[in-house]
Symmetry: C2
Subunit: 158 residues, 2 copies
């Protein structure tokens, strides 16, 4: 992928704050909304979710997830031409005692300061979604496939 | 669900033009972006997709899909409080010779007039996604489960 496309994708994932999270539920896909942050070392996408939520139970029973980050509707663009990226990845719960927890928590709170009280709730946990592959659509008919390593390099530069 | 919540949900699905579509790919969830329209009789959500696209192949091999429609980011709301609905449904290809094709095509083009040329492409088809159940989050901590029938009644009133 050339430098211009990489820059577009990097801007997209930094500009947006919510993603559509696809999990597996009783063998079928389920899509819910999650705010996300980016791990400072580029290791993946950081979400903070309650174990009372169905999507959390889904991730604990099957780590395979998909994350869609899409450009905002409007802005004079046809919906068909909106920029978006679908990331396939593996979700892993990060216990609060894990060495990487503090830095991931800080990255999340830097984006979502009003989520602070939820870090005091016992049922909430950080999950890190590590990209395995991605499909980036820069506009109508402009699609590219990316490896997990490419996405991680791109996140590291953000 | 009370009249106020129903009205909020109805407004949400009419105001937005794109959804996150979850399909099943090699047993894992995959989320992509699709523009959608609403079937005039409330029978479901109408998408127009290419058989060259992976999500179309997914729907043809397993009809179980999930559709997330979420409120736009911003507007002074925290991302955690955005209104959204996750619809679980079954996707069915509507051949151009099917009796309902004309009305679904008209509903789609009423929303997306610039999609007209794509109706001339042999690889594009309309799919109708019939709701089986849904989870509506009206705001932080305000979630409701809905039956497929409830969603269909609501779409009929739009």
């Amino acid at each position: 992928m050339n430098a211009e496309l990489s820059e577009q994708l990097s801007r997209l994932v930094r500009a947006r704050t919510t993603a559509a999270l696809g999990t597996l539920r009783a063998g079928a896909p389920f899509v819910s909304m999650v705010p996300y942050a980016i791990a400072p070392d580029g290791a993946g996408f950081v979400v903070h979710v309650s174990e009372l939520s169905a999507h959390t139970k889904d991730m604990l029973s099957d780590a395979r997830v998909s994350l869609l980050v899409a450009e905002a509707e409007g802005g004079g663009k046809t919906p068909l031409g909106l920029m978006r990226v679908s990331v396939q990845g593996l979700a892993r719960r990060i216990p609060s005692v894990a060495p990487e927890h503090a830095v991931l928590k800080a990255a999340y709170l830097a984006r979502f300061p009003d989520a602070e009280p939820m870090f005091g709730f016992a049922d909430f946990s950080i999950f890190l979604i590590r990209p395995e592959s991605a499909r980036f659509v820069a506009g109508f008919g402009q699609a590219r496939s990316l490896s997990g390593e490419s996405i991680i390099r791109l996140l590291q530069q953000t």
